[in-house]
């Protein structure tokens, strides 16, 4: 029995560490848009990191909060200092699993549903979103658009600026993946 368990472990291990089905993206884009009566605010980041396992559908996204760029640098400062508190919580992290039919070996456009948790401002929220996965030879792209209610992540908007900042912001991202290769340092 013990032998079987060891054998099982040995068999499972390469599957877990398999790099063949793992794809990575280090310069994806993430942006959000807040539309309020007095003001529209938009911010963009070019530092979205993501890793996608096409065999299991597991996907991880990380965005450094400080990488979001605003038109007004004072706004950027407020965003980091007062709202997302990036000195305490420097990253937003999403961990999820893609469901639906997709195949890394077959070129095409697939609609996928991702279920997972978004950890933003140290508050994890379970969510389900729809995205578009495109396979073109060995390049895979994944993009999605969804809404985040800032209150869900305990980000407080002072009453005085409720007409400047929306309670629900629209987030979109786009990641282009290539087969993952271990970094040589």
């Amino acid at each position: 029995m013990a032998l079987l368990a060891v054998l099982g472990c040995l068999l499972l291990m390469p599957a877990a560490g398999s790099a063949q089905s793992v794809y990575a993206c280090t310069n994806g884009t993430a942006s959000f848009f807040s539309s309020a009566p007095l003001e529209d605010i938009e911010a963009r980041s070019g530092s979205l990191n993501s890793v996608l396992n096409m065999a299991t559908g597991e996907v991880v996204f990380i965005v450094p909060m400080r990488s979001f760029e605003f038109d007004k640098s004072l706004m950027q400062e407020h965003f980091n200092e007062r709202y997302v508190e990036s000195h305490k919580y420097p990253r937003a992290v999403y961990k999820g699993r893609l469901e639906g039919h997709f195949d890394a070996g077959v070129n095409g456009k697939y609609t996928v549903i991702s279920t997972g948790t978004l950890d933003l401002h140290n508050v994890s929220v379970q969510r389900t979103d729809t995205g578009i996965l495109v396979v073109t030879d060995s390049v895979i792209s994944l993009s999605a658009k969804f809404k985040i209610a800032v209150a869900d992540h305990h980000i407080e908007i002072p009453k005085l600026v409720t007409r400047n900042i929306a309670e629900v912001v629209e987030v979109s991202f786009n990641a282009i993946y290539r087969p993952y290769r271990k970094k040589t340092k």
């Binding site: 099982g8 990575a24 991880v60 990380i62 640098s73 004072l74 400062e77 000195h87 961990k95």
Partner: protein, 320 residues
């Protein structure tokens, strides 16, 4: 019979437990391990921890002291500083001036503009001495979050020209109306709440009078250059409210506290409130003038004799 039944039941239950354990081991463990692996892989691609510290101070000035901050890139900061008269009765305040509200000592209106995120220029006009000011401020060093640069160093310089109508012969040449300030601003954000400033300062006056605060002065000792050292700090109480304080001592012979010339170190203390694009400061200080060229040479009011003034400042940022 019952014994056999019991044994068999236990046996089956043991098999069930084992099977569940095996299932857990073969599925749950690898899944979780893989999840962590993906997160690790994603973390690999992230840039290093080195980032510039932001918001060491809320705005470019604390009370009397400049901070290490400059106006952001292509942003105009419109500032109005208003300093009322002395609060205390001993220093001509009291009820008859409504504790100084009737007797403003200085009003400064300034336009300051960020040419880049590190370099700003500005112009201002102050009521006292009708000083017109041109200023430049440059962030030489910026503190980093990883500690490789432990503090910020900002350089500040200004030139002023006084527009006051002077009696014949008081200012023989136009350049006699000019003064300059050169300042190195050392700042460190110690934590989210606490930021500290240190400001070695030189004020140069092109022309000095024969008297100092009304007392005859030795021309040899009455220097054009005045050296001073400032210190200041912020303590954040809430997300948008901070307690602020700053202090300047003068190294000039005539300006030592306690001597007969009647000068005093400059102390300011108060509250800073931020709301969106506005920053308000509501403070008290014994300095009559708002700009360095004025409060470093000419502060003659004493906190202990009611010689402090209510002071507020409004700063509004416009993206241009």
């Amino acid at each position: 019979m019952t014994l056999i039944n019991t044994i068999s039941r236990h046996f089956r239950s043991a098999i069930g437990t084992f099977a569940r354990l095996a299932l857990f081991a073969s599925c749950a463990w690898p899944c979780q391990a893989q999840d962590e692996d993906l997160l690790d892989l994603a973390m690999e691609g992230l840039p290093g921890q080195k980032q510039y510290t932001i918001a060491t101070f809320k705005t470019t000035k604390l009370i009397n002291a400049h901070t290490n901050e400059t106006v952001h890139d292509r942003t105009l900061d419109f500032r109005v500083g208003h300093r009322f008269g002395n609060v205390g009765k001993e220093s001509f305040g009291g009820i008859h001036t409504l504790y100084g509200l009737d007797a403003s000592t200085d009003i400064r209106i300034a336009f300051e503009y960020g040419l880049t995120d590190r370099f700003m220029v500005g112009i201002s006009r102050s009521k006292r001495n009708e000083n017109y000011e041109g200023l430049v401020k440059y962030r030489l060093l910026r503190q980093t979050t990883d500690g490789s640069v432990p503090m910020a160093v900002t350089l500040f310089a200004n030139a002023t020209i006084s527009g006051i109508r002077a009696p014949e012969g008081l200012y023989p040449r136009t350049t006699d109306r000019m003064t300059y300030t050169f300042q190195a601003i050392l700042a460190r954000k110690f934590s989210d709440r606490i930021s500290i400033l240190l400001l070695p300062t030189l004020v140069h006056r092109n022309y000095v009078f024969a008297t100092v605060n009304g007392f005859p002065a030795d021309p040899e000792e009455n220097k054009n250059d005045l050296l001073a050292l400032g210190a200041g700090g912020r303590f954040k109480i809430t997300r948008s409210t901070s307690l602020i304080v700053d202090y300047f001592v003068n190294f000039d012979t005539y300006r030592q506290p306690g001597n007969e010339y009647g000068f005093h170190p400059v102390l300011g203390a108060g509250v800073e409130i931020e709301t969106g694009g506005h920053v308000f400061t509501v403070t008290f200080t014994n300095a009559a003038g708002i700009i360095e060229n004025d409060f470093i040479p000419y502060t003659t009011d004493d906190w202990l004799e009611g010689g402090f003034k209510f002071n507020f400042n409004i700063s509004r940022n416009f993206k241009l």
